[in-house]
Symmetry: C2
Amino acid sequence: MPETSNLPLTETTTLILLSLAPGPSHGYAIMKDVHTLSEERVALSTGTLYGALNRLLEQGWIERVDDPQPNSTRRERKAYRLSAVGRSILIEELDRLESLNTIARQRLSPGGYGDTQQP
Amino acid sequence: MPETSNLPLTETTTLILLSLAPGPSHGYAIMKDVHTLSEERVALSTGTLYGALNRLLEQGWIERVDDPQPNSTRRERKAYRLSAVGRSILIEELDRLESLNTIARQRLSPGGYGDTQQP
DNA sequence: ATCATATATGTCGTTGTGCGACACATTGAC
DNA sequence: GTCAATGTGTCGCACAACGACATATATGAT
């Protein structure tokens, strides 16, 4: 195994990978999708987006693909696809999220426990 | 409302707040607790820990408390307690984690959907 | 006695990441 | 003609995590 751990992913990375999960897309579309997908909470700036895309390319978590809409009217667009590695890392991250959440809820709710907050 | 959003928290921050949720503790104990609590995944370095603690103090998410064990043999220890603000932010973060995870699982599994991975 | 390990807190420099600001080009609506 | 939306990109700032280093006491083993 070359890398011991890639986790945790940043929220930006997670959302970009997730946005690419159903199929290939391009920068601007990812930006908008991440916004809806995050319930309007996350608005990626272009600096964040293109920086992250290049990083993900270098890491091999996403790959370049031919523009799916290369018709006459459309101007330049660069499309990306989630790689197999990217997909499995995304799943690892979601597992992390899930287990962290579970453990945390246990700590927070254990009826009749702690709360040593000055008696 | 003074701040629009504090989220997302970093994993480090989340785990520290979570470690303080049941009751006050001090640096070294938090370090060890975070390790078990994260299922041995996260080993905080002291640089991260004390940097984070000071940041959290400044933000008012945690507070200093008297050392609960100031007996003779024990040496200097600084104890911290989760503040009300810190507690509610932790809960917000857990809600974020939960909803992100839910949304993501929907995207990833919706049997018979996407996977436009070269037909 | 001495040595290693655990407990305990802290600083410093490097690196990665997010982000706002800026820049530029095309297309469609008014 | 002009404005918003689409589309890609760069640059510099700030902040967080991290490893390395520094310091000191307590405990258990040899």
